[in-house]
C-alpha cells in the first residue's frame, strides 16, 4: 500500500497505509506499552494501556487498533497519557495479588514493569481482593486466577495460532474468567504457548513453577534436540551438585527460526538430561557377563585395543558403525572420518527417517530450490503431500496456519489420513496410503493412474495455476518417487521443495555421510579423490554394509565389532539380542538402552544440550548449538571419538585439523562450567598446547567440513551471531542417486513422543498418560 507520512512525538515517520500505529511506532523504536496486543494475533483492545493522544480526536485512542493516516499527529508520552495508564494499572491491580516474591513471572512480568514505570504502587481502591485457589489444568499448565488481567492473549494464541481453541471466557464483565475447554482441565496439544504469551504469572509451567527466579538462571539459546524443525529453545540452567542443571526451556527472546512458536518438546522435554539413572561412568562387561564400572582410561584402552585387534586380524570390513540422528554435524563428520580412515570401513549407517540422498540427487545443480523453515511462513501457495506436520513438525504446522491467517496463503493437501491441517487447506484430497506416486503422475498429466473425478481435477488445475509453489513432502516419497515429484515440480515456475525428516539432525547425518555409499556432501564413495587427498589416507572404495546388512553379517559371524553412537537400533529395528552375541559392541549413550544392554563397553555420553557445534534441520537450515547444561562424568561424542582414535594410534592432527588458522575455540564450546569439569583445559595443559587449540574443538572440524562440503559454504560470522544459514543444495556433487535400498523407517512420533529419547522424559510420559486416560468430567472450573 502507499506510504503515508505522520508525526509521532515530534518525529516525522513514514509507513505503509494500513499499518497499526503501535507497529509503526515500534519499528522506529517508540515503544507503546500494551498487554493485550500481540503481533500476528487478532486485535482485542481490552487492556487500554496503549492509549495515545491523536490531534483532532476527542479522546485518547488505542494505538493497537488505530491505523496510521496521512498528516496524523500523535503524542505517546504526555502527562495526560501517563495519568490514564496509571489509572488503568491501578484498576488491573485492584484484584491482582501482591505475591510478586513467589510468583514465577516476577522479574519478567509485563505488569510489574508497567507498575514500576507508571508508579501505581498505591491504590485508592479499598475492596478486598478475591482469592481463588490455583488450578492445575494439565500436567504442564497451572492457572492462578487472581493474577489474570484478562488480556485474552492465551485465548487467541490457542485458538488462532494453534487452531486448538482450548481456552475461552466464562461469564461477563467483572466476573469474566479464562476457562479451559475440558471443564476443569485442558484438552489440547500442550504446547505451552499460553504460558509463554501470558504477560503476568497467571498461567505457569508445570516444570518450572516455584523452582527458581528468572535472574538466578543462566540462559543459553540452543537448538531443540527433538524433531527435525530445529527450533531455538532457550534453556535456563543453574548450578547443581554435578554440573549445570536445566530448569526451564522456553522461547525467551523469540529470535530463532521458529519465531513465536515452541512446542511441548522444546519447552518441557529437556528433563531426560536430569534423570538420575543417567550413565556417568564407563561400563565394561566382565567374563561373568555382568557390567562393571571402569575408569575412563581403562574403558577406552580396552575398547581401542579390541578394535585395533579386529582391524588388524579381520580388516575394516568386519567392523560396523552406527551413527545418531541427534549428534552435531561435526560429530557425524568426525564419526564417518574415523570409520573410513581409522577403522578403514564403509560400513557406516544411521537410522534413516527419509531418503535425503535421492532428494539431493534430484535437486543437484538446481539453485534456490530448497526452502528454509522461514519460507513456509510466507510462501503464497503450498502443496503438502503426506506427513502430519501438526504431530511431527509442529513449527511447520504453526507457520502454515499463520501463513493462511496472515497472508491468505493457499494450501493444498493430499494425505491418506484426515490430518488436522486440512482445516486450513484450500483443497484437501484424501488418497490411498500407497497412492502418492500415482497422484504425482496424475498431477504431471497422466490421467489413467488414478480414479479421476471432479475433485481431483480441481485439485490439479488449482496447483498448475500457481505461479510460485512450495512442495512439502514426507517419508511417503522415496527413491524414484522423489525424482518424479521433483521433475513435476520443476515443470512449474518457481517451485521450491522441502523433505520432512524426523529428528534434530537427521539431515545433518545424511549430509555428513553417515551412509555406506556416500561421503559428506553426498559424494559417492567410489569418487572420493579430494577426500583421500585431504585425509591423507586410502579410503575404502566399495560401498559398505547398510544398517540391516550389518546385523545380518553379525548373525552370520562376519561382523566382529559394532560401534554405536547415540542410537538404539536393537529396539528400532527389532533386532534379536542373540544376533550380537559374538560381536564386540561399543555403545555411547546417555542411558542403558536396549542396545547398550548388549554392549561390551558403554561410554556415558553428553546430549545435544551439553555440547557445542552445528545442526542442520530437515529444511537445510544450519544453526549453532551452544552448550547449556553440564553433567559431571559424561563426555561429548566428539571427545569420545577423538580419545578412541588416539588410543588406536591414529594421528589426531589428521583426524581433527586443530592448530591451523586462527579460528580458535576460545572456550565457546565449553559453556557454563562448574568445578573441575573443564576437560578442555586439562587436555591442553597435559599436552603443552595451552595457547593453541585442542583436538576437542568442533570448530576445527567445521573448518574442514566447510572446505570439503561445498553446500555448507555459509558465513561463519552469521552462524556465530545466531542466524540460521541455508545449505546450498545446488553445490551437492552427486549426479544420480545410487541404486540401493533406501531403508527409510519413519519414526512415527507424535507430539508427545520422541524416539528412544522421549521415553526418558518424565514430562512427556506424564502428558502422554494424561491424554490416553481421559479424566472424568467433574465440577466446572470455577
Amino acid at each position: 500500500m502507499a506510504d503515508v507520512t505522520f508525526t509521532v512525538d515530534g518525529k516525522k515517520l513514514t509507513a505503509p497505509a494500513g499499518t497499526l500505529l503501535i507497529d509503526a511506532c515500534k519499528a522506529v523504536g517508540i515503544e507503546i506499552p500494551a498487554f493485550c496486543y500481540y503481533p500476528g494475533l487478532s486485535l482485542q483492545a481490552a487492556c487500554r494501556m496503549c492509549v495515545v493522544r491523536i490531534e483532532k480526536m476527542p479522546k485518547l485512542q488505542t494505538a493497537c487498533t488505530t491505523t496510521v493516516a496521512e498528516g496524523m499527529v500523535v503524542q505517546t508520552e504526555t502527562d495526560e497519557i501517563k495519568q490514564a495508564r496509571k489509572a488503568t494499572i491501578e484498576l488491573l491491580l485492584g484484584n491482582h495479588p501482591l505475591d510478586c516474591p513467589v510468583c514465577d513471572a516476577g522479574g519478567e512480568c509485563e505488569l510489574q514493569d508497567m507498575t514500576f514505570k507508571y508508579g501505581a504502587a498505591e491504590s485508592k481502591y479499598v475492596e478486598i481482593k478475591q482469592h481463588r485457589e490455583e488450578q492445575q489444568w494439565s500436567p504442564v499448565v497451572f492457572f492462578d486466577r487472581p493474577r489474570c488481567i484478562l488480556c485474552y492473549r492465551c485465548v487467541r494464541v490457542c485458538g488462532e495460532g494453534m487452531d486448538v481453541w482450548a481456552l475461552g471466557i466464562q461469564n461477563r464483565g467483572v466476573s469474566a474468567v479464562i476457562a479451559p475447554n475440558g471443564q476443569d482441565h485442558l484438552e489440547c496439544e500442550e504446547c505451552g504457548m499460553c504460558i509463554d504469551i501470558c504477560p503476568v504469572g497467571a498461567l505457569t509451567s508445570g516444570t518450572y513453577r516455584y523452582k527458581t527466579r528468572p535472574w538466578e538462571m543462566t540462559h543459553v539459546a540452543t537448538i531443540c534436540t527433538h524433531c527435525g524443525d530445529g527450533c531455538k529453545t532457550t534453556l535456563g540452567t543453574r548450578r547443581s551438585n554435578d554440573g549445570m542443571e536445566i530448569v526451564r526451556g522456553d522461547n525467551r527472546d523469540k529470535s530463532g527460526i521458529n519465531g513465536d512458536f515452541l512446542c511441548i518438546k522444546g519447552r518441557y522435554a529437556f528433563d531426560f538430561a536430569n534423570r538420575t539413572e543417567r550413565l556417568t561412568k564407563p561400563l565394561v562387561r566382565q567374563a561373568d557377563g555382568q557390567f562393571k564400572e571402569a575408569s575412563w582410561s581403562e574403558a577406552i584402552d580396552f575398547a581401542a585395543k579390541r578394535l585395533r585387534e579386529i582391524r588388524e586380524s579381520k580388516g575394516g570390513q568386519a567392523i560396523g558403525v552406527i551413527g545418531s540422528n541427534r549428534t552435531t554435524n561435526e560429530e557425524n563428520y568426525l564419526l564417518q572420518k574415523f570409520a573410513r580412515t581409522v577403522l578403514g570401513t564403509n560400513n557406516i549407517d544411521h537410522h534413516r527417517t527419509v531418503d535425503y540422498v535421492s532428494f539431493a540427487a534430484a535437486l543437484a545443480g538446481k539453485s534456490e530450490r530448497t526452502a528454509s523453515l522461514r519460507d513456509t511462513a510466507n510462501a503464497p501457495a503450498i502443496l503438502l503431500l503426506g506427513n502430519d506436520p501438526t504431530e511431527q513438525h509442529p513449527a511447520l504446522a504453526w507457520n502454515l496456519r499463520s501463513n493462511v491467517r496472515l497472508n491468505r496463503a493457499r494450501i493444498y493437501i493430499a494425505n491418506h489420513a484426515e490430518i488436522k491441517l486440512r482445516r486450513q487447506a484450500k483443497q484437501f484430497l484424501e488418497i490411498p496410503k500407497d497412492g502418492y506416486a500415482s497422484l504425482v503422475q496424475y498431477l504431471a498429466g497422466n490421467d489413467s493412474v488414478v480414479a479421476a473425478n471432479e475433485q481431483t481435477a480441481a485439485f490439479r488445475d488449482a496447483i498448475r495455476k500457481e505461479e510460485s509453489l512450495l512442495i512439502i513432502f514426507g517419508s511417503e516419497f522415496r527413491g524414484r518417487d522423489i525424482q518424479a515429484l521433483v521433475e513435476f515440480g520443476l515443470s512449474l515456475p518457481n517451485t521450491k521443495f522441502v523433505l520432512l525428516g524426523d529428528y534434530a539432525n537427521s539431515r545433518g547425518a545424511a549430509d555428513m555421510g553417515l551412509l555406506p555409499d556416500t561421503l559428506p556432501g553426498y559424494v559417492p564413495v567410489a569418487s572420493a579423490a579430494h577426500f583421500a587427498d585431504e585425509y591423507g589416507a586410502v579410503l575404502p572404495q566399495n560401498a559398505g554394509l547398510d544398517l540391516l546388512q550389518m546385523f545380518d553379517a553379525a548373525q552370520s559371524g562376519n561382523l566382529a565389532a559394532l560401534y554405536v553412537v547415540g542410537s538404539n537400533p536393537v529396539t528400532r529395528y527389532g533386532v534379536d539380542p542373540a544376533v550380537l552375541k559374538n560381536t564386540f559392541v561399543i555403545v555411547q549413550d546417555m542411558f542403558l538402552t536396549e542396545t547398550a544392554q548388549l554392549a561390551d563397553v558403554v561410554f556415558p555420553a553428553a546430549n545435544l544440550y551439553e555440547k557445542a557445534g552445528t545442526v542442520t534441520n530437515t529444511y537445510g537450515d544450519i544453526q549453532l548449538v551452544k552448550k547449556a547444561a553440564d553433567k559431571a562424568g559424561v563426555r561429548s561424542d566428539f571427545e569420545l571419538i577423538v580419545r578412541l582414535a588416539d588410543r588406536m594410534g591414529a594421528d589426531l592432527k589428521k583426524l581433527v585439523p586443530f592448530g591451523r588458522g586462527v579460528r580458535a575455540d576460545m572456550g565457546q564450546t565449553r559453556g557454563a562450567q562448574s568445578g573441575e569439569a573443564d576437560r578442555h583445559s586439562v587436555w591442553l595443559a597435559a599436552h603443552g598446547l595451552e595457547p593453541k587449540l585442542s583436538p576437542f574443538d568442533p570448530f576445527a572440524t567445521l573448518d574442514e567440513i566447510q572446505r570439503l562440503v561445498p553446500s555448507y559454504s555459509f558465513s561463519r560470522l552469521e552462524l556465530l551471531a545466531g542466524s540460521d544459514q541455508h545449505a546450498k543444495s545446488e553445490l551437492v556433487q552427486i549426479s544420480a542417486a545410487p541404486a540401493r535400498r533406501d531403508l527409510v523407517l519413519p519414526s512415527q512420533d507424535t507430539l508427545f513422543t520422541s524416539g528412544t529419547l522421549g521415553r526418558y522424559s518424565d514430562k512427556l510420559k506424564e502428558v502422554l498418560d494424561s491424554h490416553t486416560t481421559p479424566k472424568p468430567v467433574e465440577a466446572a472450573a470455577d
Binding site: D99, C100, P101, V102, G106, E134, R209, Y210, K211, T212, R213, W215, E216
Partner: protein, 164 residues
Amino acid sequence: MSIVRNIAAISKGMSITFKEMFQPTEVENYPDGPGPTRGAVLQDRFRGAHVLQRDENGLEKCVACFLCAAACPSNCIYIEAAENTAENRISSSERYAKVYNIDYNRCIFCGYCVEACPTDAITHGHGFELASLNATNLVMRKEDMLVPAVGMPGELAAHSDSVK
C-alpha cells in the same frame, strides 16, 4: 595575633583531655562479663549473624524469592526453592527455601539482604562470634540460622525443618 589564637586552640583541646581524665572508666569485660553476650554491649542496629524469622504460626517467613541473593554484593547467599504441599507446609506462601545457605567467608554484613527481604524473613541478629579455624564451617545452613521452633504449636514443630 596568631600566638593568641594558637594558645586558645591548644587550651581548648587540652581542656577536653583533662576533663576525660577524671571521668569513670568504662570497660566491656568481654568475654568474661555477665549475661549471654558475656559482657559485650551491642547496639540494636548492630549487624551480626543473620537470623531467619518465623511468623506467628511458627511457619518460616522466607518464601524463597531470591531477592536477598540478588541484592547481595558479595554473592554469598545460596537458595534452592521448593513448593509447599498440603502435607508438608514450611512457609505460609506457595514456595519455601529448601536450602538457604550464607557463606560467612564472603558476607560483608552490609544489610542489603535484610533491606531487600519483602517478608522480613532475614534479619541481622547480634551474633558476632563467627571466627573459625576451618573455613568450611563458615557456610551456615538454614537450620543454623532459623529461630528455634519452641513455643509454637506441636503440629507445626513436627513438620519444621529446624533441628533445634
